[in-house]
Structures are given as structure tokens and as C-alpha cells.
């Protein structure tokens, strides 16, 4: 199937190479290599609905000026919830900046995610506690961190641990990502490279990163690559689960390309109408990751109207809580900006802190309130 975009031609994956366990229409399909293991499909549905609702709320918080910017996961819920739920509690995840669904699976209160985008904290959670690293904004950098962490797991002979690292289609062009592929392959470490190919790096279509499907990239580095329907939460779950198991069993890295679609803007400051046609979005709406699970659950009688209503109610509740909590997030005190640069003392920095503290104290009655500030910055 070929989708016409503004200028680039996008080829949808052909069925032989794309792992799919649930069709857009909500039909279960069997795959000999990927028999679906025991999984709570209603739970996955609930996760996806809740993170989507959270995401929608974050977008409006940004519109209301409560957040500086927001990177929406709209359309990528299945890729994130499927892979996130495949993680064992001891596995470590390295996200990019859009993995709100994975964060959810790791048990992180979504309000924590807002702190980064509101500009009140870059480190709102303890990565060790949640086994979920901080968001990484420099494209691709975290793939090397994940690989190094996995080298550590191997050295520790920790056979029940693996690493998953998230990045986008655009990231595959960065040298660091290829270096991570090399290292992971040479050292045969337990890492799963999870590429969410949402078809765009801001405005650049996936063809700008590679003329061939991205999952094939890993072959040149000596480890397997798999393309999964990124809008199929069951396939994402099962493929990731197997890749993580292979990693834990010492069978080395796997690249998973979750073929999905960024249904929203790149971030709230982006205007996708400048570079893609609305018709493309229409095509992908038919492949919505949530709708197909709902259809499946409903049709097979695994869930009834009460269930769906209850999930919707939970979502509304979550949104309300997030909204209030976000608004209540305080700004850090000014001098906090001098904290945590070093573990020990740094006389140059201490002098600057002291000087700035004195400077602030010089404003009467107290602090920033009295500073004359620029008219229109």
C-alpha cells in the first residue's frame, strides 16, 4: 500500500515482514513464532486509554500556559504500552522524551513527567527506583548509555535483567546509535533497541533516514531486527517479551522497529500541516491502536459496556488529578539552581552562589519580586 504525502512516497510494510497479532479491525491473527503468552488484554486497553487521556490533558495544559512544551505520544500508545508491559520489574528502560506510556508501565506518576516540560525539574524521579532513566533529549545519546548499562549487567552475571532503550526513526541516522549497535553486537549484551518509527523526525519522513525498512539496519551489525505493527499492542507486547528473554538468556541484542504513526504534531510548537497531508492522518486513524483492542474485547465478549465506562471514568479522574497537580507544581527556589552540580565542593561555584544570594537579598522587601525585569523578553 502506498500513501501519498506532500512529496515523499510512504510505503507501508508488506505483511510478510510485519508482525501483527491483532488487525486494525480487531481480529486476532496467529503467528507461529509469536504465540501470545498470558497477558491481561483488558489491562493493556486500560493503560492505553489512560495514557492517551493523560497526553490529551498535557496538551491542554501546554495550551493554557502551564507547560512550556509537550511531546505527544498520540498514536504510539500500543508501541509503548505493549513494550512497557513486557518488561520485568528488574529490567531497566532508557527512554527518549516521548515515552509517557512506558513511564506509566514503570509505575511513575505521570505528573512527574510534566515537571520537565513545565521547566521546574529535569530529574523529577529517581531512575534507579523506577528502573526508568531520565528522558534524554539529545537524539540517540541514550542508546550508548543503555548499551553500557547492559555491559554492566553482563559483567554482573545478572541473568534476570535486561535493558530496553527507546528512540525514534530519526535517531537511527545519528552516529551514536550506530556505535551502540556495534558495541551491543560486539559485546553481545542484553539490550533491546526499541525504535518507534512514527514515520517522522519532526518534518523529515522516514525515507530521509533510510531507503530501506529500518528494522533491517541491525543486520549489518550482526544482530536480528524485527518489524512489528506498532499499533498492535499484542504484537508489541509479545515481540518485546521474546526479545527481552533472548537478551536475558545471553542471546544478545535485538532491534525492534515498531511501525507506527505520530498522529499529532511533533511537539506543541510544531505545525505538521506544513509538511504532511491530512489524508495521511485519515489513513492512520483507521489503524488506531486503541480502537482495535476495544473492538476485539467487545466482539469476543471479554469486556462489556460497564468496563469501558469504568475505564473512561478512571481516565477522567486521572486527567483531573493531573491538571490540579500540574498547576500546583511550585517553581524551585532561585538558589536551587546551584545545587547538585558536583558531589563535593567547588569554590568557584560557591562564590557565585554566595554572590548571587547577596545580590538577591539586596532587593527589598525580599527576593525576586522587586527585580526590575526586562519589558518584553
Amino acid at each position: 500500500m502506498t500513501v501519498e504525502t506532500g512529496g515523499a512516497t510512504m510505503v507501508a510494510p508488506n505483511d510478510t515482514e510485519l508482525i501483527q497479532l491483532l488487525t486494525p479491525e480487531g481480529e486476532r491473527v496467529e503467528h507461529p513464532q509469536y504465540p501470545l503468552s498470558d497477558v491481561d488484554i483488558k489491562g493493556l486497553y486500560r493503560d492505553m486509554v489512560l495514557v492517551r487521556r493523560f497526553d490529551t490533558e498535557a496538551i491542554s495544559l501546554q495550551r493554557q500556559g502551564e507547560l512550556g512544551i509537550w511531546a505527544s505520544l498520540l498514536g504510539q500508545e500500543a508501541a509503548q504500552i505493549g513494550s512497557g508491559r513486557a518488561l520485568s520489574p528488574r529490567d531497566m528502560a532508557f527512554p527518549s522524551y516521548r515515552e509517557h506510556g512506558v513511564a506509566w508501565c514503570r509505575g511513575l506518576d505521570p505528573v512527574r513527567l510534566l515537571e520537565l516540560f513545565r521547566g521546574v525539574s529535569n530529574g523529577a524521579w529517581d531512575p534507579q527506583e523506577y528502573k526508568f532513566h531520565l528522558y534524554t533529549i539529545v537524539i540517540g545519546d541514550q542508546t550508548l548509555h543503555a548499551t553500557g548499562y547492559a555491559m554492566g549487567i553482563k559483567r554482573d552475571s545478572a541473568e534476570d535483567e535486561a535493558v530496553i532503550v527507546y528512540f525514534g526513526d530519526g535517531a537511527t541516522s545519528q552516529g551514536d546509535v550506530s556505535e551502540a549497535f556495534s558495541w551491543a553486537s560486539v559485546f553481545q549484551v542484553p539490550v533491546v533497541f526499541f525504535c518507534q518509527n512514527n514515520q517522522y523526525a519532526i518534518s523529515a519522513p522516514q525515507e530521509r533516514q533510510s531507503p530501506i525498512p529500518l528494522y533491517q539496519r541491525s543486520r549489518g551489525f550482526g544482530f536480528p531486527g524485527i518489524r512489528v505493527d506498532g499499533n498492535d499492542v499484542l504484537a508489541c507486547y509479545e515481540v518485546t517479551r521474546q526479545a527481552l528473554r533472548a537478551a536475558r538468556e545471553g542471546r544478545g541484542p535485538t532491534l525492534i522497529e515498531a511501525f507506527t504513526y505520530r498522529m499529532g504534531a511533533h511537539t506543541t510548537t510544531d505545525d505538521p500541516t506544513r509538511y504532511r497531508l491530512a489524508s495521511e492522518l485519515e489513513v492512520w486513524r483507521l489503524r488506531d491502536p486503541i480502537e482495535r483492542v476495544r473492538a476485539y474485547l467487545a466482539r469476543t465478549g471479554q469486556a462489556n459496556a460497564a468496563f469501558f465506562e469504568q475505564v473512561d471514568a478512571e481516565a477522567a479522574e486521572l486527567a483531573a488529578r493531573v491538571r490540579d497537580a500540574c498547576r500546583a507544581l511550585p517553581d524551585p527556589p532561585p538558589l536551587a539552581m546551584f545545587d547538585h552540580v558536583y558531589t563535593g565542593a567547588n569554590a568557584i561555584l560557591e562564590a557565585e552562589r554566595a554572590q548571587y544570594g547577596d545580590y538577591l537579598d539586596g532587593f527589598e522587601p525580599a527576593g525576586l519580586g522587586q527585580r526590575e525585569s526586562e519589558v518584553a523578553r
Binding site: G68, N122, P332
Partner: protein, 327 residues
């Protein structure tokens, strides 16, 4: 004269350069169809074609490295690095290749490459989007490093940078992109102030205030505010960070006897250090006070909600000016 935003002035300057020389090309992430995240290249791909305005893969080393190859082939690439914090993956190609190629080839190869970098803070962004890495490039011999401050300057400076046969690192003050100023679009380029020259923005007698990029506006406002207190501040926009226009700088400091340097980058080992050291050496007997610096602290760029505390503002600049009078 036309009233343009700084972003638009750059756009017009790029357009002129593309028109003037078929060898000029533009490359970077999202510069084509999207027109750049700050719209600096808006409409240029449409008008000049995909072969002259290239949407690249997402790889900064690749952008600079292939630009070098294109320059070796006779092209004049203008690269955009989307944000300051993303120039680091290209450091090797810039420092080891772009800067040194002419020297090591004994002048047989020249690389007329411009690297545009939106820099500095003040837009409430997330991490890595508010850096001021200019001193790294200023320290690197073989590069010319410049920063523009307003629309009028941007319009001529980008054209001069593209016309220059040396590699130019071109810093753009991102929080001033939407500031408007009168631009003389009819002026011939050869009447423009050369790229290596500093510019006196506001004359004054009591103290010389040196700055560049986004703080030119802030310093100018500070100088105007200080008039009320009877202080006459001379504001100089350095424009060229490497080389420094020491003639203009020293002449001013010798006259005023006091000097303050303001930039957003951390003070520690920042460009202000070079200016202070050099001014002190050249104006030793004229200085009433040490050259003082006001700038970023020795910390990573803080979260957006604290950036107003990090960035030198009118008050902090005037406080520093005051301190030079305490000597």
C-alpha cells in the same frame, strides 16, 4: 527601509545569497519543507528547489562533514544546527576538519562553509535548547565566529558570512528572532560593516559595556536606564567573537577607563575571560577598575523556571557596572 523580524531578515539575507551565487546551498534538519523550526529558511526550498535547500538526515556530524565535501567540490553550504545544544556531535568535524583544512593544505583548499546556530536562552525551553557554546569555537583557530544582534545586522552579516571564504560559525540570538527592526534591504553589501568589526551601539563616557547576540538589546536597555542615574555607558556589540576587534574595544576602554563584559555563557573560561585579559593587557594604565564580567554561572543551564535568574538581566548588568565604580 523595511521592518522585519530578525528571523525574517535572515531569511531575506539567505535569499539574496542564494540568488547571488548558484553555488550557495542550505542544509540542515527541517530546513526545507518546514522552513526550519524558527522559520529562518521558510519558503526557500519552494523557491530554490530541493537540490539547493536540503532536508538532511538527523545527524549533525553528517551535516558538517558532508558540507565540507560539498565545499571541496566548489559549493558554499550554509548549514543549520537546529539548536545550540546539538552542535556537539559535530565538534569533531568542525574542530578537526573544517577549521584546519585550509591551514593543513597550505591554502590549497578553502572551505566557505557557514554554520548557523540559534543560541542562548530565554525562551522557556527544555534542556539543551539554551546553550551558549561560542567560546569553544572562538578558541579554535581557523574559524571565524560571529554573532548577530538584531534584524538589520542579521541581514547583512549572514550575507557577509556566506561571501566569506573562511568557515564561519554564525550565532543567532534565538530569543530575539521575533524582535523587529528597520532593515535597509537596498543597501549594497560592500557598504556594510565588515564581519570582523565591532559596532558601537550607544556612545558613552563612563564605562564600556561589551556584549554580543541576545544581550545587545538588554545592555542597551540597561545603558538607557542608567542615564537616569547619571551614568554614561558605552555599549559595544562585538559582532566578531573571533577575531575580536581590539581596536574598537581598546579605544573605548582607554577613553572610559572601565569595562564590563556581558554574555549568557558561563563566565568561567568564557569569552569574557579573553576580552578581560586582552583589554587589561592593552589598557593597563587606563583602567580604573578590573574588567568585570557578568554572565552565566558555573552550572549547567538551569530549568526554564529559573532561567531568569541565570541570564544576566538589566539589573544584574547594572549591578556589575556599579561594582566597577566601587574600585
Amino acid at each position: 527601509m523595511t521592518r522585519l523580524t530578525l528571523s525574517r531578515a535572515l531569511n531575506e539575507g539567505l535569499r539574496r545569497a542564494l540568488e547571488a551565487d548558484p553555488k550557495v546551498m542550505i542544509m540542515g534538519e527541517d530546513v526545507g519543507r518546514l522552513g526550519g523550526v524558527f522559520r529562518v529558511t521558510d519558503g526557500l526550498q519552494k523557491d530554490f528547489g530541493e537540490h539547493r535547500v536540503i532536508d538532511t538526515p538527523l545527524a549533525e556530524s553528517g551535516i558538517v562533514g558532508t558540507a565540507i565535501g560539498l565545499a571541496l567540490r566548489g559549493y558554499r553550504p550554509v548549514c543549520e544546527i537546529q539548536f545550540d545544544g546539538f552542535v556537539y556531535p559535530a565538534t569533531d568535524q568542525i574542530v578537526s576538519q573544517l577549521a584546519k583544512m585550509r591551514y593543513r593544505s597550505r591554502g590549497q583548499l578553502t572551505l566557505p562553509v557557514v554554520i548557523r546556530i540559534p543560541f542562548g536562552g530565554g525562551i522557556g525551553a527544555v534542556e539543551h535548547h539554551s546553550e551558549s557554546p561560542e567560546v569553544i569555537f572562538a578558541h579554535t583557530a581557523g574559524l571565524r565566529v560571529v554573532a548577530c544582534a538584531d534584524a538589520a545586522e542579521a541581514f547583512s552579516m549572514i550575507q557577509l558570512a556566506i561571501a566569506c571564504d573562511d568557515p564561519v560559525i554564525f550565532f543567532e540570538p534565538k530569543r530575539r528572532y521575533w524582535d523587529r527592526a528597520e532593515v535597509d534591504m537596498a543597501a549594497a553589501l560592500d557598504t556594510a560593516l565588515p564581519l570582523s568589526k565591532a559596532r558601537t551601539v550607544l556612545p558613552g563616557d563612563d564605562v564600556t559595556l561589551l556584549t554580543y547576540g541576545p544581550l545587545v538589546r538588554t545592555c542597551t536597555e540597561a545603558a538607557i536606564a542608567a542615564r537616569d542615574e547619571g551614568k554614561s555607558i558605552e555599549v559595544i556589540d562585538l559582532r566578531s567573537l573571533s577575531p575580536l576587534d581590539m581596536d574598537t574595544i581598546s579605544a573605548s576602554v582607554i577613553r572610559t577607563g572601565r569595562c564590563v563584559v556581558a554574555h549568557e555563557a558561563p563566565v568561567y573560561a568564557g569569552l569574557g575571560a579573553e576580552i578581560a585579559a586582552r583589554v587589561t593587557e592593552q589598557c593597563f594604565y587606563h583602567l580604573e577598575a578590573p574588567v568585570l564580567r557578568v554572565g552565566g554561572f558555573a552550572i549547567p543551564y538551569p530549568v526554564a523556571r529559573l532561567e531568569d535568574h541565570y541570564l544576566p538581566d538589566l539589573d544584574r548588568i547594572l549591578d556589575t557596572v556599579d561594582r566597577t565604580f566601587a574600585f
